[in-house]
Every structure is written in C-alpha cells, then in structure tokens.
C-alpha cells in the first residue's frame, strides 16, 4: 500500500508574530511542522504497522529548512521523504496544494494523510484542495483510521463529542485531527543517525502555481475589544485574589 503524508511547514505561533507591511515578516519568524501533521505522520505509520505498505512524507520546502522535519518523520517510521523546493515563505495553501498534487500524482497513492487544518490556512486547508486537484474523495476531522483491503474505515469527529464511522474506498485523502494514539517520541540519536544516512528526494515545483486569488490588505494583531482585569503580584497573591473573587460570588 502506498501511503503518502502531505505536510505543511508553517510560521510558529509560540511567540509574537512580527509584521512586515501587510504580511508576516517571514524572515524573522521560526517555521515549525504543523501540529496536525505530527498527528497525520503518526496515523500513517500506525496504518503501515497494522496493514503493511510504505509511508512517503512530502512537503513544500518554503525556507530551505524542511530537512529537519523530514528526518524526524523518518525517525518516527516513515520510509521515504520528498521535499518540493519552492523557496517561497509566503506561498499560500492553493499554491502548496497545487505543487503537492503534482508531486503526489506520480506516487499512485492509496491513501493521502494530511493535517485537517493549519493556523495559516487563510485561504483554506491543503487537504480538501489536494483531493480536488487529484480528483479523490476527501474526509476530514478524522481521529482513527483502519485499512482493510481496499477500504479505509475512519472515525470522523463532529462537535459535542459526537462521531461517525465512514467506510471509504481507496484511494482517498484524509484530513487527520488526531491519530488513534498520541505521536510517539523519536530519540534525537535516531534522528541524527537518519540525518547522516537518509536520502531526501528533491523535486522542483511544477504545475501552474495558481494562488489563492486573495489580495492581502492587512495583517495585524486583533484590537482587543475588551481585556481581562489582570491580577498582579506573586503566585500566592494571585491565588488569594482568585479565591476571594470566587468566595464573593459564592463559587467557593
């Protein structure tokens, strides 16, 4: 079975995001693997371990730093890694999905996993777009996947703890919300070993690279319409203030 994982390298939101003009200042920001893609890598490896096959991880290399991410994926159990050398930090989801679709088409995938969403999906997520470009069905918000013969049984999550089981004839694109098990830990020594020995496939971006068709006018932190009343002092002071507040409202 050919299992493909399409990943997205995105600006880290751990810290403040610097702005340059009407967009993020991509030179000053760290890029990290989309956290939902951590889940989809894990889900792909779990499917491989249960049902056999090979896992190929492919991503658009926006700033030339995707190798670390790909090595980590290989250390977690992926078999092959491919990067699309775009060198375009601001590439939107449509562009990335287009390049990914071109690269993935030739892999004849049985199942394509990708994170259900990313925090920079201004123009939508790459999963559904990949499905459209590859002419495959799409189902997202998935929290467990089992493959038997040519059918994947997935659990799709709805709001309120409600879920539904679907049976999907392969090939399919799956938007992973959570793997059926939390992502495994890959020891750094294993990652480094792989960094020495692994060959990462490189492809140039192809296809028309059509963008999102959105003119970005402004990107700025939200203007707070309200703000919390901040409780100051030591942790003990804060705790005392909270308890007093709760008692005054009959909540403690």
């Amino acid at each position: 079975m050919n299992i493909v994982v399409a990943i997205k390298h995105i600006p880290s939101i751990a810290d403040e995001l610097p702005v340059n003009g009407s967009n993020i200042d991509f030179d000053s920001v760290d890029f990290v693997l989309n956290e939902f893609d951590e889940q989809s890598i894990e889900q792909a490896v779990l499917v491989k371990e249960a049902s056999g096959g090979t896992v190929t991880v492919v991503g658009v290399d926006l700033i030339g730093e995707l190798d670390n991410v790909l090595h980590l994926a290989l250390a977690k159990g992926a078999d092959n890694a491919v990067k699309i050398t775009a060198d375009e930090p601001g590439a939107d989801s449509h562009q990335q999905a287009g390049w990914l679709a071109e690269a993935i088409r030739g892999m004849s995938p049985d199942i394509v996993f990708t994170g259900v969403q990313a925090s920079n999906d201004l123009d939508g997520q790459i999963g559904p777009m990949l499905a459209a470009y590859l002419d495959l069905p799409y189902i997202g918000g998935v929290s467990s996947v089992e493959v038997n013969g040519g059918t994947a049984t997935v659990n799709k999550e709805f709001a309120g703890g409600v879920g539904a089981k679907y049976a999907v004839s392969l090939p399919v694109v799956v938007g992973v919300q959570a793997a059926s098990k939390p992502p495994r830990y890959a020891p750094i020594s294993k990652v480094r070993q792989i960094a020495q020995t692994a060959a990462i496939g490189k492809v140039a971006p192809s296809g028309d690279g059509a963008g999102a068709g959105l003119a970005l006018k402004k990107m700025a932190p939200p203007v707070a319409t309200g703000h919390a009343e901040m409780l100051t002092g030591s942790s003990k002071d804060v705790a005392a203030k909270i308890v007093e507040l709760l008692k005054s409202k009959g909540l403690a």
Binding site: A14, D15, D30, V32, R184, Y185, P187, I188, S189, R192
Partner: protein
C-alpha cells in the same frame, strides 16, 4: 513504592542428601539453594549487557550505597536495592525505578565495587528510549523543547540574550564585540530565561564589571549544555547541542571559560573533550575565589544573615569544588556560615540532576517527599536565614521547597546574589 518481589523463604530440610552425603538436620540450610535461585539472573544481565552499564553486575550487596542514596531517604532506592529488584523479577528498563536516580554519585563515592550509576542510568535510559519504552511525559517535553528551541524551557532562541537589557550594566556579546576577550562567560538556559535565574545572571554581570573582568557572552549563539538530558538518556540530543556549542566556542578568541552552573561545568570540562573541545573551564565560584583579594574590598555592605551553603552535586562531588563557594560567603561581612550535617562530599542532592529537574510530578508519585523538600528542612534546622546555592537549577527548586515545607522564612539566594547585595547594599 516497592516493586513486587518475593520475600526470601527460609528453607530448612529435615532430610537432605547432597551429592551422596547425608546432611539431614537444622544446620543444612546453608547447603540448600537460596530463594535467589528461584529467579534467573537474566534481568541483571539485561542491564549489565547494555554498553556503559556493565558495572551493574559488580554489586555484592554490601548496601553502603543505601546509607547515602538521597532517594532512599524518601523512598526505597539505591544501587543495592535496584540490584535486588533485578534479582527478583524487575526489568529495570521498563520500570519507573529507571527514572528516579539523579546521578548525584554519592553511591559511587562509597561503593567498594565501583558500581557506577552515573554510567548505568544514562545507558539503560537510552536503551529504554530507543526501544520505545515508557518515558515520563514531562521529560519528553523537556527533550523536545531542547531540540526545538535550544533550551529545556521551550523559550525562543532569539530571546536568549534579552535578559541583558535589565542587567544594570553593559553585557558585551561576542558577535557584536569583534575582538578577543579574556573570559567567555557561558550563561546557561535557566539564568537566561527563568526569572530567578536572570536575577543571578544580572548579579554576575555586575560583579564581573565591578572587578574589571574582560568578559563577553555568546547570547543567542549559546545553546543548552544538555548534560542532564544526556544523563536522562538522550545522548543524541546532547551531541546535537555539543556540536553547536563547540562550533560557537571555536568561533571566537578567548582565554578562559567561566560557567554559571555546575552541569555545564561537567559537560564542557569532562565530556566535551571526547568531542574535540578541551579548553580551560571553571565554575564562577572557583573563578571569583581566585580574585578574592580584589573582590573583598568591594563587599562593602554587611549581610547580617546566618547562611547555610548547599553543595551542588555536580560542583562538589563530581568536580571537587567545595571550598571556593565557602570562601566567597565568608568574605561577605556580617555573614555567619553554618554547615548542614550532610555537607561537602556527603551533600544531599536537591533532586534536579539526571533529568530530575523535569520529572517532579513523576517522582512525587514514587517518593514520600521531594529531595528538595528534605534538603530544605535540613537547611531550616540549622537555624539559617538563607540557603545559599551555586547552581541555577536549585533556586526555583528550593524556593518551592521552603514554601511547601512551611519554611518560608528561609530565603534562597545564589552566591552571586549575595555578593551583589554586599556590593550594592540592600535595594
């Protein structure tokens, strides 16, 4: 929490014939196989066969280690006990016991057979991680943070030199300085990012400046020493950090390196040579004690406190520095230095080493009290007003511990802060 193992059952046989000789009677007990032989030594061998952990098999159960193991005081632990657990059915590579050792080396100090937990633990832990066995969650997060951001606190690399804005003196950064310096001061992760660590870092900057030391820091070119992560099983992570740090160290010209913390002292002095770095490295206490004749006149303001000093395991036992910190404290006017019972070579671990810094919630499940709490109580019992420390892990550990043991009256301060106080007067 003691692992499940069988108690030895005395065997006395009314009738015993061994190798054709009749030895029936109550005294034949010693000729019968003991309960130990109801188990195979396979689990001992499993540990001892891991490269680096061979000395585990040396143990002949004298139990001198148990008397000095800090974890045994608050639980059931120590090399001899681990050996016994392995003898009677515990697989150390899968057990929670694997993660309780802080590598304080007090056991090694007294062991007649040199059973070396400082080598055994990292080897067994590395094996456990490679085999995908249980690793405490908090520890994993510290590993991942170190790998991703260069420090176990998960703070942005870019912000590693932000503390110098509030140091009160100019702190030269090597990449902006453009010239050789006398002293490369390796600041460390906690002093760069943790609020109480930054207090000590600023104090150090002021002291070096007052002494006219020609120093500079790497700032955001510095990454964590990762020595504790290495001892917690992540050798690969240690090597990743070492590669980067050594490249940075070699990039600039300097004569001597001074470190804020004992764990980096251990890494740079004792482990980095294996990776091609061998230059003079000293802890700040050793460095400042050397300059005591010029430092003493600057210590103008009395600090009228009874102070007890906690010997950090990695400065004291592991690297032999016991006196310099005491000399510095005694140089401060008004200070009355009192010793805890367990001092110098027999110092009692704060629990931060060997990865313990990032496993408190886990170890709390397996001990009656945190090591830092036990030690804080010991400090308080000397009647001291201040517990002086010399390791960046310790301040936050002991501050938590004095609070949780009802000893808030005991202040916790790095020696740097005490020297600074005496230099500048009470703020």
């Amino acid at each position: 929490m003691a692992p499940k193992y069988q108690k030895a059952i005395a065997i006395e046989k009314e009738q015993a014939v061994v190798d054709g000789v009749d030895i029936s009677g109550h005294w034949n007990r010693m000729f019968e196989q003991r309960v130990i032989f109801e188990y195979t030594p396979e689990l001992i061998e499993k540990v001892a066969s891991i490269p680096g952990a061979e000395s585990f098999a040396n143990c002949y159960q004298c139990a001198k280690c148990i008397a000095v193991c800090p974890v045994d005081v608050v639980g059931n632990y120590g090399p001899r006990k681990l050996y016994r657990y392995a003898q009677t059915g515990l697989d150390l590579t899968e057990a929670p016991e694997l993660w309780l050792c802080t590598t304080c080396a007090n056991c090694l100090r007294v062991c007649p057979k040199e059973v070396n937990m400082v080598k055994i633990m990292p080897a067994a832990r590395e094996q456990a991680i490679l085999d995908g066995k249980f690793v405490p969650n908090e520890l994993q997060q510290a590993f991942e943070a170190t790998a991703n951001t260069g420090n176990p606190l998960g703070q942005p690399q870019r912000k590693r030199e932000a503390w110098i804005q509030n140091a009160g003196v100019e702190v030269p950064v090597l990449r902006d300085l453009g010239r050789p310096v006398e002293v490369l001061w390796y600041v460390g992760s906690y002093p760069s990012y943790h609020p109480r660590g930054m207090d000590a870092a600023s104090a150090a900057a002021r002291i070096f400046t007052a002494l006219g030391i020609d120093f500079a820091i790497l700032g955001k070119e510095e990454k964590d020493d990762a020595d504790s992560q290495r001892l917690a099983g992540e050798k690969g992570l240690f090597e990743m950090m070492a590669e980067h740090n050594i490249e940075m160290f070699n990039k600039y010209e300097w004569n001597e390196m001074v470190v804020t913390g004992p764990h980096e002292l251990n890494a740079f002095k004792n482990v980095y040579p294996k990776y091609g770095f061998e230059r003079p490295v000293v802890h700040y206490t050793t460095f400042l004690a050397r300059h005591l004749d010029r430092l003493k006149p600057l210590l103008k303001h009395p600090v009228n406190k009874k102070i007890t000093y906690h010997d950090p395991c990695y400065l004291g036992r592991h690297n032999g520095e016991y006196e310099a910190p005491r000399q510095l404290l005694q140089a401060i006017p008004g200070v009355e230095l009192v010793e805890m019972d367990r001092n110098r070579q027999n110092g009692y671990c704060c629990g931060g080493g060997g990865g313990g810094m990032w496993m408190d919630s886990f170890t709390a499940k397996h001990t009656t009290m945190r090591l830092s709490e036990k030690r804080a109580m010991e400090a308080a019992s000397t009647g001291a007003d201040v517990l002086a420390v010399a390791c960046p892990f310790e301040v936050s550990r002991f501050e938590d511990a004095v609070k949780s043991t009802g000893n808030e009256h005991v202040g916790v301060l790095d020696i740097l802060e005490l020297l600074d106080k005496s230099m500048r007067g009470e703020p």
